[in-house]
């Protein structure tokens, strides 16, 4: 995946710019006389010259696929860099300029080969050879233009094939949608039938009660109740139902009713934005709020009970106080003697007035 992207980048890179090649060789000897130097397997013929910088790497344990066991890569631990100082017997000798670890025989060496500029031949080509060269160059140009034309022509069928494939895919997609729509319609019809049958069974199986509400002379609304089913029917068609404007902030529309993955029905209360699931109750603020709310209610209840108690007890205290007061007794006696009871002299006995 990612390497496909890398490969495309590399291809573009190679097409756009001339790329300097690298070559590899091996370390065949390691000399350490004050300064560590290495002898390489390559020499002038392979592009090594004095002054060329080489990188020494050590291959590690192969990276293998954990399932197939195929070798997918090789770790290369950097050992250091070296600079070629001389060529001895066709083999370059390089001095280490940066060392991460001690070089060993067999370590891999990477470098960019540099070849000395070749001497231009000053001999003039014969006329026949010049003609052949001219002819070959012309043929090369023809081949290049032919290849370009061929690419352009070959691109059209590919494009047409892609368009054809896309159309085929769209057609199959439309056919699938059509089939699904037909299936959905059939399912909807079956659901209606099931619902009607269920209503009939429920209404028929139990005692149905019927209430008719006369809205006006032309309008009768009939309510049929059977078990848990309530059927509302309008007998005359003069009843007009008007939609009541509902506050959109708190309205629960049918579109908000969604069926969740478990098959249960859940209502999304939209802008109310109250989520009464476990997380809501886990919040310390909510728990604290609930606690304080209960505490508040308890306080108010105590206040009401206390006030009521005080009223009742206050009245009782007043009554007791009045009853036990001495003035009350005297007044009572006076009133009893003077007002409440009179001596009925005519009858010779006391009678209550």
């Amino acid at each position: 995946m990612l390497y496909t992207y890398f490969a495309v980048l590399c291809a573009v890179l190679c097409a756009v710019s001339a790329v300097a090649e690298t070559a590899t060789t091996r370390v065949v000897a390691v000399m350490s006389d004050g300064v560590t130097s290495v002898q390489l397997e390559a020499g002038t013929a392979q592009g090594l010259q004095p002054g060329v910088s080489v990188e020494i790497l050590r291959e590690g344990e192969h990276i293998v696929h954990p399932l197939s066991g195929a070798v997918l890569g090789v770790p290369q631990e950097p050992v250091g860099t070296a600079e070629v100082r001389r060529i001895d017997n066709g083999r370059a000798v390089a001095v280490m300029t940066k060392t991460y670890s001690t070089p060993r025989i067999g370590d891999m060496v990477e470098f960019e080969p540099m070849y000395p500029p070749s001497e231009e031949k000053s001999e003039e080509s014969p006329a026949a050879v010049a003609q052949v060269i001219e002819r070959v160059r012309g043929l090369e140009k023809d081949i290049e233009s032919y290849q370009k034309t061929q690419k352009t022509i070959s691109a059209y069928p590919v494009f047409a094939q892609q368009v054809w494939d896309e159309m085929g895919a769209i057609k199959s997609y439309l056919v699938t949608i059509d089939e699904r729509l037909i299936a959905l319609e059939a399912q909807q019809g079956e659901d209606r039938q099931h619902l009607a049958q269920a209503l009939r069974e429920e209404r028929g199986g139990q005692d149905a009660r019927e209430v008719t509400i006369r809205y006006d002379e032309d309008t009768d609304v009939r309510l049929q109740i059977a078990g848990k089913t309530l059927v509302i029917s309008v007998e005359n068609d003069s009843l007009h139902l008007e939609e009541i404007a509902v506050d959109t902030a708190t309205a629960v529309s049918l579109d908000d009713v969604q069926e969740n993955a478990a098959g249960d029905w859940a209502i999304d209360y939209g802008s109310l934005d109250l989520d009464f699931d476990g997380e809501f109750l886990e919040s310390p603020w909510v728990l604290g709020g609930i606690f304080v709310f209960i505490f508040g209610l308890t306080g108010i209840a105590i206040y009401i009970i206390k006030r009521r108690y005080d009223d009742v007890m206050g009245d009782l205290d007043d009554y007791d106080q009045d009853f036990s007061d001495e003035d009350f007794d005297e007044d009572f006696d006076d009133e009893f003697e003077d007002d409440e009871f009179e001596d009925d002299e005519s009858d010779g006995r006391y009678g209550a007035r």
């Binding site: 495309v8 300097a20 890569g73 105590i302 206390k306 005080d310």
Partner: protein, 234 residues
């Protein structure tokens, strides 16, 4: 009589105090509910904008100690998923793609994790080896091995070098902020060529790869940005 009046007055005051306290508690409860509804942490996925938005900052002082283990920077567990927005500069396309670990298998005393796209990954030491279905190898490392502070390997004709750039990078991608990210700079070239391409990958602790961009930055869009992540478990 006077003591009775005082008692009555006292009890009335206690009752009023209890009522006032109840009202205060009710007000506090209402305020608490309102405050909770205001700070209700709804984690919603940002609307998908098909534009790879990535801002990278390198802070001078890390907020906290960043981990050095690759487990932290590339958590491997079944059910974990990442949704990326990939931008292909060559084709000019932007693709939203999900990567998900679907299986784990124990072989040769190591756990092998299988992704839904065919990639397999396993941990070895302080490195995670990620092998795509075409055989390309990507190595994720949280700490550069000494002495060269880089990890070099060759795969599919490519010479690849990984090195740790920085450990305290802060990334902002699609209104999310990732701190203490580790930056892994990858240099790669064809084995026989010397032209080197580089890209930087950013790994966030506990999350994994959160972004990838061409390195050094040239003002172009990043190649990969994390949109969402998480763990799906039954």
């Amino acid at each position: 009589m006077a003591s009775l009046t005082r008692r009555k007055t006292r009890s009335q005051w206690i009752g009023r105090l209890a009522g006032l306290l109840g009202c205060v508690c009710l007000l506090a409860a209402g305020a608490g509910l309102w405050f909770t509804s205001q700070r209700d942490p709804h984690i919603e996925r940002q609307p998908v904008v098909m534009e790879a938005d990535l801002r990278v900052h390198t802070v001078s002082a890390p907020a906290r100690q960043a981990p050095n283990t690759v487990e932290a920077y590339y958590p491997l567990e079944v059910g974990r998923y990442w949704i990326y927005l990939r931008h292909d500069a060559v084709r000019g396309t932007t693709t939203e793609v999900e990567r998900r670990i679907v299986r784990r298998e124990r072989r040769d005393e190591r756990d092998i994790y299988f992704f839904d796209d065919g990639t397999v990954a396993y941990r070895e030491g302080e490195k995670v080896f990620e092998i795509d279905p075409e055989g390309g190898v990507n190595v994720v490392l949280a700490d550069a091995p000494p002495p060269s502070d880089s990890y070099v390997y060759r795969s599919q004709g490519l010479h690849i070098e990984k090195e740790i750039g920085s450990r305290d990078t802060v990334l902002e991608a699609h209104s999310r902020r990732y701190e203490n990210c580790i930056q892994v700079v990858t240099h790669f070239r064809r084995a026989e060529a010397s032209e080197v391409m580089s890209y930087a990958s950013y790994y966030s602790p506990g999350i994994g790869l959160v972004g990838r961009e061409i390195w050094p930055r040239s003002g172009r869009e990043p190649t990969e940005v994390l949109l969402a992540f998480g763990t799906r478990k039954l």
